[in-house]
């Protein structure tokens, strides 16, 4: 099961809507071995394509060095499908190379750039085998308290 804070879920969906009709992509990093998706990191889709995504190779290195320095790993690897369902394609399966990650797929085919409906699903992809899993959204923790002005 993937557990995500509401704030992170919203950020992934917003990124997918913003980049539609191109695919959006990114990761949510967390402490190594913790399975806690904590740090949202949107990435540029270097392919700039409605049917393909790829992190830029220089940004990929910077990302992994940064995660290494923080003892983090990619807990979530997300990308959007903009004309098809939120299910891993053959390409997605063939290229999946983070056996510990939750692969999140967001489909914007119905809502496009608008606030319309999105499909948001999560999978494990290990050795070419796809296993869908439940997604639990938790209220964003530790919302800063502010004096109410209502």
């Amino acid at each position: 099961m993937l557990t995500l804070a509401q704030e992170t879920y919203d950020a992934i969906v917003a990124h997918a809507r913003r980049d539609h009709p191109d695919e959006a992509c990114g990761v949510v990093a967390g402490p190594e071995g913790s399975d806690r998706a904590e740090r949202f990191i949107p990435m540029v889709n270097a392919a700039g394509s409605p049917t393909f995504y790829e992190f830029d190779s220089t940004e990929l290195l910077a990302l992994y060095k940064d995660m290494d320095a923080r003892d983090e790993e990619p807990v979530v690897v997300y990308h959007s499908h903009t004309a098809t369902e939120a299910y891993p394609s053959r390409t997605d399966i063939g290229l999946a190379s983070e056996p510990n990650a939750h692969y999140v797929l967001v489909s914007t085919r119905d809502g496009g750039n608008s606030d319309g409906p999105v499909e948001f699903r999560s999978y494990r992809i290990v050795d070419g085998v796809v296993t869908e899993e439940d997604v639990t959204i938790t209220p964003t923790a530790e919302t800063p308290t502010r004096a109410s002005t209502d």
Partner: protein, 91 residues
């Protein structure tokens, strides 16, 4: 003397779980042959039809080897090599 090679999670099955290993070679090609000697099978995950696989990125001292000669990129003792699979896919 040796060159440190950082191994991504998915290839650590070839290195007994090690995140980094040492190898030697005057070029990336030689380094990969040396790696293969100690970690059989790893070469096939990096090279296909005599060239680096399209979705494997290799960096020497933070430079993508595709810009510095690919498999012929020259190496010296103390260099750091990082292997990272591309994060990519498509609808």
């Amino acid at each position: 003397m040796a060159i440190e090679v950082r191994i991504p999670t998915i290839l650590r099955t070839y290195t007994g779980g090690a995140k980094a290993v040492e190898a030697t070679g005057g070029s990336l090609s030689e380094l990969i042959d040396d790696l293969e000697g100690n970690h059989p099978g790893i070469k096939g995950r990096l090279i296909e039809n005599g060239d680096l696989r399209r979705f494997v990125n290799v960096y020497v001292n933070d430079e993508d080897v595709r810009f510095i000669g690919g498999l012929e990129a020259s190496l010296s003792d103390g260099d750091q090599v990082v292997v990272l699979p591309a994060v990519a896919g498509g609808a």
